[in-house]
Symmetry: C2
Subunit: 225 residues, 2 copies
Amino acid sequence: MTRSPSPSSRAPARWNNALAQAPDPRDLRKRALIAAAGRAFGVKGFHNTTLDDIAQALGVTKPALYRYVKSKHEILFECHRLAVGMAEQALDDANAQAQDPLEALRLFVEGYIRRMTGELGTCVVLTEYYSMTPEHSALIQRRRRVVDSGLRQLVQQCLDAGTIEPCDPKLAVFFFMGAINNINRWFSEGGERSGDQIAHEFSVMAVKALRPREHGTRQDIPAAV
Amino acid sequence: MTRSPSPSSRAPARWNNALAQAPDPRDLRKRALIAAAGRAFGVKGFHNTTLDDIAQALGVTKPALYRYVKSKHEILFECHRLAVGMAEQALDDANAQAQDPLEALRLFVEGYIRRMTGELGTCVVLTEYYSMTPEHSALIQRRRRVVDSGLRQLVQQCLDAGTIEPCDPKLAVFFFMGAINNINRWFSEGGERSGDQIAHEFSVMAVKALRPREHGTRQDIPAAV
DNA sequence: CCTACCGATCGGTAGG
DNA sequence: CCTACCGATCGGTAGG
C-alpha cells in the first residue's frame, strides 16, 4: 500500500504474468501486448477491438500501452510480422530437413500450423491485411511473396520429378494455403482438436490433394513415359 | 440542364446501369448497392469502407443509400445472405445431381465457387462475421451450420461406402471450405484464371485430398477387405 | 502507469 | 436524391 491505487482488481494479473521470468521486462510486456491484441483481433477483428479492450485484457489502462507501441497500427503490424516469420521458419526448416520436395511441402504445412496454433494460440491475424498502413502492408506482402514463391518452386520440383499429377502450381499453393489461413476462424485453444492433430491431418490432406498416385514415399518413380 | 447539378461526373453511370432492363427498379438498385458494397468490403474491409465510398461507386450521395437499406450493417448482412444462399443452392444442386456422395462433394465445391466468382465477381464478404450485429450473425451462422453439417454427412457417407480414406469429417470439411473461403482474397475478375477454371481445379483437389485411391470414378469399389 | 481530455472520422438524419 | 449537420466512438496526448 504505497502509491498506485490498484485498479478495481476485477482484471487478470497485470501483463498476464509475462514478466517475472526472464531478461528484458519491457520486451516481455510488449510480447504479451501483441499476443493479447492478436487474440482479440482474431475474434473481433481489428476495428472492433479498441485499445481499451486490449489494455483491459492486460490489466492496465490505454495510455500505458503507448510505452510499448506507438500506435494501434503498429500492433497489427507486429502480429503480421509474427505470422510471416512463422511461415518463413517453417519453410526453412522444411527445406533443410526434407529428402524430396513433396516431403518438404508436407513438413512446411505441418510446421506452419504447429507454430501458429502453438505459443500464441492462433493469435495471429491472418486477415485484415487491408487495415495495415500502406508501408506496413508492403513490407509484409514482400515477405509473404517470398514464401509463396518458395512453395510454388517446391510444387514445380514435384512436377518435374513426376511425383504429383499435372497442376497449376499457383492454384495448388493457393489451395492449401487457403485451408491453413482459415484455421484461426474456427480454432480454439481448448477445442476438441489439438494444434498438432490439425497440423498433421492437414499436412496429409494437402499432400494428397496434389498427389493421388500410390504410397511410394519419395523421389522420382521409374516414370511411366 | 434542369435542376440536380450533376455531381462532378467523374463517377460511373448512376447505379451502374442496374436498372433500364427489368421489373422493380427499386429492387435492382438495392441489388447493385449490395454488389458494389460487397466488392468494396472484400477489398478494403467493412470498417475501411465508408458509406460515402459506396455511394460514390454508384454515382450518388450517401443519404440516397438510405432509401434502400436502413443501416450499414444491413448491407453487410445482405452480403452474407447472398453468400450462404449460394452455398445452400450449390449443396442442393449437388445432392440432386450426383450419383454418389463423393461426386456430390465435387459438384458442391465446383458449383459454390462458380456462383461466388460469377455474377457478382466474388463480391461476397466471406469474412468479417464479427462485424455483423449479434442478431444477423446468429441468423447467418445457423444457415452456415446446416450447410456444414450437410457436407459432413456427405463425407461420412463416403467413409461408410469406403470410397475415401479414414478421416475426421469435421476437419476434412474445414480443410476444403477453408481453401474456398479464401479465394476472394486473391481472386480478381480480370485475372489470369477464370472462376470456372478455379472451380474445376479446386473441386478436383478437394476430392483428391480425401481420396487417394485409384481413379475408378464412383460407387463402392469391390473392397479389398 | 493513471486521470482527464482533445480531435477526427463517419454513420445516420433533418429538411427540403 | 441532395446539402448541410449532428453525435458517438475511439485513437492518441497532456500532464502529472
